[in-house]
């Protein structure tokens, strides 16, 4: 049972989109996150650094051949915080008596 806990760091729309992407992934490539969330390289770097400093994300840098490759993943702490944040959002919706149907 996930304890609802609203997380201001995650709730920022841009970070929410990034964390939601990462929540469905084992890891995601930097360019994939950048293109999907429609951010510049620098803006995404800044957001990922914020998440990393909070202990929510892990950033891996490496090379494939000579090409640099950066990927990111949620840490266990980040995944738990995300699940608690989602539970908090659901609680707000449920308390209002409204419902939301999952997309797809």
């Amino acid at each position: 049972m996930t304890v609802p806990r609203f997380d201001e760091l995650i709730h920022s729309p841009t970070r929410l989109a990034i964390v939601a992407l990462l929540a469905a992934s084992e890891w995601a490539d930097f360019s994939y996150i950048r293109d999907t969330v429609e951010l510049s390289d620098s803006a995404l770097s800044k957001q990922l650094t914020t998440l990393e400093q909070a202990g929510y994300a892990e950033i891996r840098k490496g090379f494939i051949g000579k090409r640099p490759r950066t990927s990111a993943r949620l840490t266990a702490q980040g995944r738990a915080a995300f699940e608690q944040h989602v539970a908090a959002l659901q609680q707000i919706v449920v308390r209002s008596g409204a419902t939301i149907l999952p997309a797809g």
Binding site: F6, E8, H11, P13, L16, A17, A20, L21, A23, A24, S25, E26, W27, A28, D29, S31, Y32, T36, F82, E83, V86, A87, A88, L89, Q90, I92, V93, V94, R95, S96, A98, T99, I100, P102, A103, G104
Partner: protein
């Protein structure tokens, strides 16, 4: 802070979360052409088996191996360049669906080939693989839809 978030805002945030997770799940779906390609390659391999000619067998095995490597490499490479789906999204139902599909193709194709040979039909392996390939091509997308539904149901926040 949560007191300042209206139910409408929360609902919108949840919808955004679902959408983002769905984007990753959709990326993991293997395209329909892959299943038809594998089905066709099965037929190519079977033509070699039925020919009983070492040269034809060598040629068809080469086409099969290179074709599988190319098609699978494309699918795996695409995932590698983007994102790897979280393992926890596919639960036991997904594993059963995958294993059931593989078992259906393998057992059905081999069983049909032996039955055709016992019945004296010509080119039993080819005929059986045509049937197996058709099931592969038609069934692959069905399997993907089933896995997609399972993964969407296992998204964080899917149930409310």
């Amino acid at each position: 802070m949560s007191d300042e978030v209206s139910p409408a805002e929360a609902a919108q945030a949840l919808a955004d979360i679902q959408l983002r997770q769905q984007q990753v799940i959709d990326l993991a779906m293997i395209p329909a052409w892959y299943w038809w390609a594998v089905g066709a390659l099965m037929v190519v391999l079977a033509i070699g088996v039925d020919s009983h000619s070492p040269v034809v067998i060598g040629l068809t095995v080469s086409v099969f191996v290179l074709g599988i490597l190319a098609a699978t490499g494309w699918v795996v490479g695409r995932a590698f360049r983007h994102a790897q789906i979280r393992n926890g999204l596919i639960d036991g139902r997904g594993v059963v669906a995958i294993l059931g599909f593989v078992a259906l193709i393998v057992a059905g194709t081999i069983g049909l080939a032996f039955w055709l040979r016992a019945a004296g039909a010509g080119h039993p392996a080819t005929l059986a693989c045509v049937a197996g390939g058709l099931v592969m091509g038609a069934g692959g997308p069905v399997l993907m839809r089933r896995l997609r539904a399972i993964m969407l149901g296992n998204r964080t926040g899917a149930a409310l």
